[in-house]
């Protein structure tokens, strides 16, 4: 499926910003099942340095500085992406989840232990027995890992209510677990916290989702938001994505931008400004299916 994605972030300040530094993760990743045919980042006023590099997870990170006084800063990323469904193993034939845990905890470097990087604590996600207790219903002994993950994804979808007013980036996961409300980022973080608390490697994926228009209506441009889900390691296969907000294993409607241990590693747009007084941030994302 082909998409054009426009991700527009606008900073507004009440007084002049004298200098600001930004780090963005906006370029969709090249993947065996995802091809980026066009990508352009535009910033106003002109950025001084735009240094593009791959970070340690292979995401494209772009660093730039604005040193002209400004009160408004639009950052616009446009891309064209072709997405196919990622191949999936047969769930019942994946290894038991305890075996995955074991393979990822060995002392020598293997693809499994490399994935083990994602089984430890990170900035937003601290393991805790309470998360394991919540997840254990989907992880009975010996169950194939993908079977368990599919059920676990449904479990979150069933138990939690999507509520943008319930949380902020700073809401602790323990609170999300208690209140059973949040947004996609909370559900992704929560899923990862549970999987890691069971000893499984799980990572955070940021990207976009095409929302299907309701039948008979034109799709609403700009209504789509930045999306997030999690990914779990399956030996002999690789990472398998799961989207607890929609209770699906992502196929050709999920566009992958970046992955990391949690949101902190891959926040789409991050900036430090000197001056500026009060600030506000507006984000608009269009994911349009190419004709």
């Amino acid at each position: 499926m082909d998409y054009t994605v426009t991700h527009r972030t606008t900073y507004s300040y009440t007084s002049d910003v004298s200098v600001s530094h930004h780090l963005v993760h906006l370029r969709p990743r090249e993947l065996p099942w995802q091809e980026v045919t066009e990508y352009a980042l535009s910033v106003e006023p002109d950025a001084i340095v735009a240094d593009e590099r791959l970070d340690c997870y292979g995401n494209t990170a772009t660093f730039f500085t604005i040193s002209k006084p400004h009160r408004k800063l639009p950052v616009i990323a446009r891309s064209r992406v072709r997405v196919n469904a990622a191949p999936l193993p047969i769930p019942s034939q994946t290894p038991p989840w305890e075996r995955v845990r074991e393979l990822c905890a060995q002392d020598v470097l293997t693809p499994d232990t490399a994935a083990g990087e994602f089984s430890f604590d990170s900035h937003y996600i601290l393991r805790h027995p309470a998360f394991a207790d919540y997840a254990v219903a989907s992880f009975p002994p010996g169950r194939p890992v993908l079977d368990a993950v599919i059920e676990f994804t449904a479990q979150i979808f069933r138990d939690f209510k999507f509520d943008p007013r319930a949380t902020t980036v700073a809401t602790p996961l323990a609170e999300v677990l208690k209140n059973r409300r949040g947004v996609c980022q909370d559900f992704a973080h929560l899923g990862i916290a549970c999987l890691r608390s069971l000893g499984l490697p799980a990572r955070y994926v940021s990207g976009y989702l095409e929302t299907l228009p309701p039948t008979g209506k034109v799709r609403l441009v700009g209504a789509d938001a930045s999306h997030a889900w999690f990914s779990v390691w399956c030996p002999n296969h690789g990472w398998i994505d799961a989207d607890p907000t929609n209770n699906v294993l992502p196929g050709e409607r999920h566009i992958t931008v970046a992955w990391g241990r949690d949101y902190e590693d891959v926040s789409p747009v991050r900036g430090v400004a000197v001056g500026g007084g009060e600030h506000s941030l507006s984000v608009g994302i269009d994911v349009v299916r190419a004709a």
Binding site: H21, D107, L109, P129, V272, V274
Partner: protein
Amino acid sequence: MTPATEPNLAPRPSGVGADYRPPREVFDEMMAGPGVVRSHWEPLVRGIEQLGHEGLRERRENAGQLLREHGVTYNVHADGQSAERRWELDMLPLIIDADEWTQLAAGLAQRTRLLNLVLADIYGPQRLLHDGLLPPALLHANPGFLRPCHGLRPPRDLFLTLHAVDLTRAPDGRWWVLADRTQAPSGVGYALENRAILSRMLPWEFRDSQVQRLASFFDARKGGLRSMAPWTDAPQVVLMTPGPYAETYFEHAYLARHLGVPLVEGSDLTVRDRRVFLKTLEGLQPVDVIIRRVDDTWCDPLELRGDSLLGVPGLVEAARAGHVAISNALGSGAVETPALLAFLPKLARHFLGEELRIPNAATWWCGQESERNYALGALQKLVIKRSFVGGNSETSFGESLAASDLDQLAARIRANPHAYVAQERIALSTAPVWNGEGLEPRPLILRCYVCATADGFFAMPGGLTRVSASPDSPIVSSRYGGGSKDTWVRSAAPVVAATPFEISSPPVRHERGHGQVPSRVVENLFWLGRYAERLEDTTRLLRPALARLAGEGGPAEEEELAVLIRWMVRLGWLRARFGGRISSDEVISAIRELVFEASRAGAVRELLGRVGFLTASVRDRLSGDTWRILNQLQTDFPAAMSRATPAAMLGALHRLIFQLAAFSGMEMENMTRGHAWQFLDIGRRLERAVNVVTNVRAVLAIDPAGFAGLPPLLEYTDSTMTYRRRYRASPDWPTSLGLLLSDETNPRSLAFQFQVLDQHLAELPDIGEARSRQRHFDELVALLASADIQTLGAAVENDLHPLDNLLRRLIAGCAALSESLSASYFSHVPARVS
């Protein structure tokens, strides 16, 4: 020639050390056996036996005095001044034999070289993981391994340019490594300060012991820092501190001065075009090398911890671009984990083809299965540490835990095995500590330092020896109240040195032009000037009131006291009801609050606190004597006294005035006339200008006739004598106003402050609103000069308005000047993440 060749002189402790009985089961640094002093300790033992108890006591007092005067402190909880702990220095050094040191120094340098190679690998190709020499989880579980720094190569691949190693000596006499400090090691400055003091306290013993000087290390360090920036011959080096609340802030300021580099906070630096600059009065100055005392995760809110207010946004990117070198490189904390000790012997063979010259304490990382199983089976004889910084970093000694505590510990290890390290328990060696009565053996840990030089690594011939707080405590840490010792490394040959002792305070730094002063520093100096003056002003106004309350005020004291009280009401110091009839007890207790209440804005105690904080934050800019005066100001002022009599308060305030006079004298006579001094003086002059006008205005409003108001007003401005000598009459408004406002020869008059301010303003850098500020100030000066003070003063009894109006305009003009200076020169806006 070593003293050991003169056995007939070998002393036997008879007096001071006669009762020294180190435990037999551990190694004692001084005694080889009962009554047998190790030969390298002989000159010291001989010396202290001659000094005797009295001599040692006297020297300890002197040392304590010096430590207080130098303000050597350690902020224990790092949450404010109350938690400052005095640094404890024992009168006896730890002494290390020359031959033994040669071995140790080689082992230390080997270790730094090795850790540096490990860092270059883990932040580079990670061959160690591929080759099975390090388990992947050691990096993955390690929060000190900073992902954004992967692939970042510092200049010359030097990660560790200062490395600290904690050593202990086992009962068999061998030294063992307990831990490494690779993040931003502390203690070098304390070691130097210990040396500076002890070498003065025991000069003969120091000389006879042929002690190697620490100066060689600091020279090597300076050379090493210069060589970190190969792109320039004259690199600008700065020392970055988290600020005055940091645990070891004393040391940051001390080292900055010793190395001759600016002490900066993160907000003093800015990144432009991937280069780091220091914000100074005269614009941005490029920075090549940063000695950081800020932990690396806090160094850049953009790429590292977003909640950090201590760092420099863009610093990681500047380092990545190769435009700045950082000591130690960002990410160096990764090898601080004690878990690494388990792998170092193998890594030494791998990288260097050598065995570790100084062995590690045997270590088991619980992140590995069989090691964990061993540790869990032997908990009661092991020491359990946290693998990584953060969280609860408490160390547990298995043998001192109850069975239930051991079970809980085991459960915690099973739940999060990677977070724990088990280490064999090494019985620490002991050294004698002088406890005031005699010598007692205390367990010790020796912290050694290695720095990178232009072509290798150099170990400091000395170190920071820390002893436990009591003879039987196994915990040795400044945080838990242990003491410290100087560490004397003996030389095989006589030491040739210019001075008989170690010099620690270089002369105040010579500033290369004015541009080197960070904006934050001039801002703090400006406020130091203002608050010191406000403190003096407050004290000067409280004194006449207290003198009258104490019955020292002369015949008119009742009436004058009433004026003084109404005056303080007008300034907002006392509540309005004090304007009416009120008992003197109530007045005394209100004034007590104005003196001692630390939480009350404008009280003497509160202003002292502000002066103290500002002093600390510009410490590297003040001469040693100036620092001592300001420090004494804090310590001498009595703590809250709930029953202090007016006479007692008066005494305390008199002393305070003397000390403030000493400070301003020191400032006038000992500070070089750069921008730093200018801003200090501008602050003082502006504050004095505002205060004199404000107080004249207050008294005018209360007592236009002037009979009861003028004597205290003249007293407050210290002008009573001048007035009497000049006019030989009882004071009246026209002459008093002339003296206080327009007399340019009176250093407390408004005109005098304007004159000095005018000179300063002309010399400030021409940035910001310099021109319009000068114009406004000229208008202010003209306003005062053109006013007919005599006539206005003569008219006050009939019409106060014209004069009051003039005074109001003068005050407003001063306030505008202060704001304009802030806007042009300080503009110290913090950066924020969003």
